[in-house]
């Protein structure tokens, strides 16, 4: 899923300072699962904003909505009927959702209530961790199912650098060394000998963000 976290409330209050009638839009997809932008978070944020504005002596009207997904035109259109009555949309979807709001409602400012962080999963209650950078050319079958682009701080392809220590990355003692994980896993799979010793060729990053904004067109699905 796409993992995001709330912006500090002070930042949000500053961002919406000049508005007194806003839509606060959550999303029931990834950001609801990672407890950053679902229905529950919409309610909590609305109360926090109302409280902050009350302290300031300025009332604010907040219309709370939580859409099925903010990355799909049909759901984003669901606020069409009343969007024009508000001065801004504060979206607590991921960055995709905020931009979909901006693209669909040309004259209403779309503001981000979250910092969209990464593609990852949950490790335990309240902890999420990055797994994929969306480089557009998956090599997980060659690296024991562990991604060197994401898990190695330097995205190295040919083994750990000299900063790997007791399974941890030099960047932080809390961070696992991605290459230690890959080596352990290749060994467990009996693939270490042939995989690790082979030179990994230079990667083509043009399928990554480096090729510019990416787009996928499926002719078989087009109407």
């Amino acid at each position: 899923m796409i993992v995001a976290q709330a912006k500090p409330i002070e930042d949000i209050v500053t961002m919406i300072d000049r508005y007194d009638k806003i839509i606060l839009a959550g999303c029931k997809a990834c950001v609801a699962v990672c407890a950053a932008g679902g229905e529950k978070e919409v309610g909590i944020l609305a109360s926090a904003i109302t409280l902050a504005r009350k302290r300031d002596g300025r009332a604010i009207e907040i219309r709370e909505v939580t859409l099925e997904r903010q990355c799909d035109p049909e759901y984003v259109e669901q606020i069409r009927g009343f969007a024009g009555d508000y001065q801004a949309v504060l979206s607590i979807a991921c960055g995709v959702g905020v931009q979909y709001m901006a693209e669909h409602y040309k004259t209403i400012p779309a503001l981000p209530g979250l910092n969209t962080s990464f593609m990852g999963g949950s490790l335990e209650q309240g902890v999420w961790s990055e797994r994929c950078q969306g480089c557009g050319q998956c090599i997980l079958h060659l690296t024991g199912g562990i991604c060197p682009v994401t898990r190695c701080s330097k995205s190295l392809f040919n083994g750990p650098c000299g900063g790997s220590s007791k399974g941890k990355c030099e960047v932080s003692p809390e961070m696992e060394c991605g290459w230690q994980l890959i080596i352990d896993r290749l060994k467990a799979l009996g693939e270490f000998e042939n995989r690790f010793t082979e030179l990994f060729p230079i990667k083509d990053w043009s399928t990554s963000r480096d090729g510019g904004q990416r787009k996928i067109t499926r002719e078989d699905m087009k109407a």
């Binding site: 330097k154 040919n158 000299g162 900063g163 790997s164 220590s165 007791k166 030179l199 990667k203």
Partner: protein
């Protein structure tokens, strides 16, 4: 491959090579490099110029290389893949060769998290082993990474670093094998304080026959004090400083710890010289360049051979 490298010539002659390093200043003053250079005159076969080591902004390695080249040194251009993509890397390799630089050391570089600009975006378009492949391809095939021909190939002696002390220990010789397969010709190792561990790595290297493909220069650093030893042990990732070394420094009065550190360094070189496969020594006297000549003299490495 014959390059213009003095280091390559010394190694080919079978002499025990000596290299050292020079960290460029955090400013535009060329005299800092010249002064550091003066301390190394007649003491080393080649001198590394670090490339924004520990991710701290400094004068570029290539510029400092040129300043030392003008003084008669054979500089080793250190190049990290942290700050450059393949376009900049290939461009700098051509530029270095055009300016008469004969040696390159291919590194991934310290992560910017440690440096003075932790907010920076890193590049890592390619890794250090792929940098070796890149330079080799440019030199031997006269081709860019896109397979297009170039007008004149950059003739550089290709080096890299290896850390026998980093985890996982069991892949460290294998990783050297990968570097050898990629085309590296000389290796400078991480600072050696744990001679037993280094000897173990070296045995693996020799067993794999890698010492015949790659000239291994063993890295040494003189410790100035107990504090420096403790710092390197606990704060520098991938550094192995045994307690016995720190205890030995503790055994002498504070004002004599530096001299003891130099003594340890000289003894280390003497032991390294006896190890099969060790073809030279790389003396990294961190901000203590004035001691390199004393160490080289003490270890009976002077005068340097004429090539």
């Amino acid at each position: 491959m014959k390059t213009g490298s003095r280091l390559e010539k010394v190694l080919e002659k079978g002499a025990f090579a000596v290299t050292s390093e020079c960290g460029p200043p955090r400013g535009a003053d060329p005299d800092v490099i010249r002064e550091k250079g003066k301390l190394l005159e007649g003491v080393v076969d080649a001198v590394n110029i670090t490339d924004c080591q520990t991710s701290v902004v400094r004068m570029s390695s290539l510029s400092a290389c040129l300043i030392l080249k003008e003084m008669g040194f054979d500089p080793i251009l250190q190049m990290v893949t942290r700050d450059r993509n393949r376009i900049a890397i290939q461009s700098d390799v051509l530029g270095a060769a055009a300016l008469g630089i004969n040696n390159i050391l291919c590194l991934s570089g310290d992560h910017q998290r440690f440096g003075d600009h932790p907010q920076a975006k890193n590049v890592y378009d390619i890794d250090s082993i792929q940098l070796i492949m890149t330079v080799k391809k440019m030199r031997d095939e006269k081709k860019f990474l896109n397979d297009q021909e170039m007008t004149k190939a950059p003739v550089l002696f290709i080096g890299a670093a290896e850390n026998p002390f980093a985890d996982p220990l069991e892949i460290r010789a294998l990783r050297l094998a990968k570097k050898a397969a990629a085309g590296v010709e000389f290796i400078q190792t991480q600072c050696i304080f744990n001679l037993d561990r280094f000897a173990e790595w070296m045995r693996e290297v020799v067993d794999m026959g890698l010492h015949e493909k790659v000239a291994i220069l063993a890295g040494v650093t003189p410790l100035k004090s107990v504090g420096m030893g403790k710092y390197m042990k606990s704060q520098v990732p991938g550094m192995d400083v045994p307690d016995a070394v720190i205890e030995r420094l503790k055994g002498v009065p504070k004002e004599k710890q530096g001299a003891e550190g130099i003594k340890i360094c000289i003894e280390t070189i003497q032991r390294l010289r006896e190890m099969k496969g060790v073809r030279g020594v790389h003396i990294m006297a961190i901000e203590w360049e004035e001691k390199v000549s004393e160490i080289a003299k003490g270890a009976d490495l002077l005068p340097r051979p004429k090539v």
